[in-house]
């Protein structure tokens, strides 16, 4: 029996017990630190073209060079800055928009539910690429606009997850008890419906971060995303579309792909850890 398990101390205690989540958090933090601080320490130049094209890893270029002879380690680090930024910020925007809308639709039902959830269906069925291409054509091509667009277009997933949970939570007797106890709607939503509805969201966040990173790179490929020569993990991986690169020069795309996978898996574990740590029923 744990003696004191209330409040935030219980949260950290439970999170620490989730070993994979701790490793995941460590890896993500390490990535962020490397990506932010490594260029300050090492002499990294992602743009200058060297004499060696498609060069394998060597003493001079630790990860080799790409098809036009740029240092891949530098491109990986600088690319990580953009990719992590896009992934995390865009997902944060998706959740910030989708979570409240899903809660409102699930808790109030009626007209709010119809409007919000049908909009979500429209957003999900409409090819978002086309919207992004049009918006980029109108507002110009910049990183903040890209993050905003990817973020806003991703709102239906968190909204639907929270909505489906809120539908069952609203009918629980503890919500009625809160009403009888004189709690206002805001208190009921924030303290009763929200904490009991967010659990499935934490797992989704990891997938959404990775899909935001990949969306950014496919946009780059179409000429609407971050433009070359600026590097992102996505556009490094996209070089593997060339069959020659795919088979003969794996050092070009494999490190970026591994970074992406490690990031996604780590965030996934962190998500799982947060979900379990928020649930006081988990103790082990």
């Amino acid at each position: 029996m744990n003696k004191k398990s209330n409040g935030s101390s219980g949260f950290f205690k439970r999170f620490r017990r989730h070993r994979l989540a701790c490793i995941g958090l460590f890896v993500v933090m390490l990535e962020v630190i490397l990506v932010v601080f490594l260029p300050m320490i090492m002499d990294l130049d992602p743009y200058s073209i060297t004499a060696v094209f498609n060069g394998p890893p060597s003493a001079e270029h630790i990860l080799g060079t790409d098809t036009v002879g740029r240092d891949l380690l530098s491109r990986l680090i600088y690319g990580g800055r953009i990719s992590l930024l896009v992934g995390i910020l865009a997902t944060a925007i998706s959740v910030a928009v989708g979570l409240p809308l899903g809660l409102i639709a699930g808790y109030y039902r009626g007209a709010a539910e119809t409007v919000i959830m049908r909009c979500a269906d429209i957003f999900m069925s409409f090819p978002s690429m086309i919207i992004v291409l049009v918006m980029v054509a109108i507002f110009g091509n910049s990183l903040p606009i890209l993050i905003l667009l990817i973020g806003i277009l991703g709102w239906p997933q968190p909204a639907r997850l929270v909505y489906s949970r809120a539908l069952s939570v609203r009918k629980m007797e503890y919500v009625e008890a809160a009403k009888v106890g004189g709690s206002n709607e805001l208190t009921i939503i924030l303290r009763y419906v929200l904490p009991n509805s967010v659990a499935p969201l934490w797992m989704n966040v990891a997938f959404q971060i990775s899909s935001a990173i990949l969306t950014e790179s496919s946009l780059s490929f179409l000429g609407a995303g971050v433009q070359l020569p600026t590097s992102t993990w996505g556009n490094i991986i996209y070089q593997a579309q060339n069959v020659v690169v795919l088979y003969s020069y794996p050092w070009i795309w494999v490190p970026a792909a591994i970074c992406l996978i490690i990031t996604v898996v780590s965030i996934n574990f962190v998500g799982e850890g947060i979900r379990d740590a928020l649930d006081p029923r988990m103790k082990r």
Binding site: E176, A177, V180, G181, G182, N184
Partner: protein
């Protein structure tokens, strides 16, 4: 009962649920959960509300607390008609009318500690000074047979009986004068039922609270209630003092219900009244008396006219039947 002062009066209350309201309800289908119900509860009195599943007894309790919107009728609480009160006007009244729920596994927020759960009404109604509220909670826990150690626990760490004690503590902490008890012991193990029931009875007598005790279990109701109302398909068909109802039932439905109570005696031959058929759908209730489709006494008058509750026999005994015996 001593003072006989009226606490709650419900007049001709109706609660209909629209079906397919979402699509404009073109056919106008309604589920008549509560249909034209009137009764009063005096201060410190326990009124039992019995009936089979789906007869509208739980809906009636929730409608009085305004957890459902009221379709028609009036609810007078301490002389005030609260039917049209909005959230703000209801707030001071909510402090005085609370609810004990059926399922102790669903009625406690799993993300809150016991202290937070019981303390919530104190905070919303601003009862006492904030620094004394924790002591108040501890005191209340002791009253319901738990102790201060339980404050930092979460609901999942407790048993069903303990949780129901927490539910009672939450309902009683604002010292309400009226509590709706929605089948408070039917979800509990038989072994803890009596304990919780006794606790509720003790609390009621100590604090002078009035209960509307909703149940399908007649033995439980007889144990705790002063008066009993029998509901069938959204109507109250009979209402009387507890002993009077058990000894001298007038309505054929009440008789059938009472005959179904198990008697702990193998030798005693019981005369069970077996009702034929099913309860009619509350979406399409019979035109006359709600019970006419299953009643052994039903005649053509019963099928056409709806009987009102009329005084019959002992004082305070009312029955809605054309042929009361």
């Amino acid at each position: 009962m001593n003072a006989q002062k009226e606490l709650l009066r419900v007049e001709h209350i109706r609660k209909y649920f629209a079906i397919h309201r979402k699509y404009g309800n073109p056919k106008g289908n309604y589920l008549r959960a509560v249909h034209d119900v009137s009764f009063t509860i005096n201060e410190g009195e326990v009124l039992g509300l019995v009936g089979e599943s789906g007869c509208g007894k739980a809906t009636l309790g929730r409608t009085i607390l305004k957890l459902h919107s009221v379709t028609a009728g009036d609810i007078y609480f301490k002389g005030e008609n609260i039917v049209n009160y909005g959230f703000k006007k209801m707030l001071p009244i909510r402090r005085d009318m609370q609810m004990i729920f059926q399922d102790p596994f669903a009625s406690l927020n799993p993300r809150m500690t016991i202290e937070k759960i019981i303390r919530a009404p104190l905070d919303t109604f601003k009862i006492g000074e904030p620094r004394y509220r924790r002591d108040h909670v501890a005191e209340m826990l002791k009253k319901v047979g738990l102790n201060a150690d339980h404050m930092n626990k979460f609901p999942h760490e407790m048993s069903g009986g303990q949780r129901q004690r927490v539910v009672i503590a939450r309902a009683m902490i604002s010292n309400p004068s009226f509590v709706v008890c929605d089948e408070p012991v039917s979800a509990l193990d038989v072994s803890v039922r009596a304990q919780v029931l006794n606790l509720m009875k003790d609390m009621q007598q100590e604090l002078g609270t009035a209960y509307l005790f909703v149940s399908h279990d007649l033995s439980t109701v007889r144990y705790i209630c002063n008066r009993i109302a029998v509901m069938y398909l959204g109507h109250i068909v009979e209402i009387a003092d507890a002993d009077e109802l058990f000894n001298n039932p007038k309505h054929p439905y009440t008789k059938a219900l009472l005959s179904a109570i198990p008697v702990p005696d193998v030798d005693q031959k019981r005369q069970r009244i077996i009702l034929q058929g099913d309860v009619p759908s509350p979406m399409n209730p019979p035109a006359g008396c709600a019970f006419s489709t299953r009643c052994p006494l039903a005649g053509s008058k019963c099928e056409q006219l709806h009987p009102d509750l009329v005084a019959c026999g002992a004082p305070g005994h009312y029955v809605a039947c054309f042929w009361p015996e």
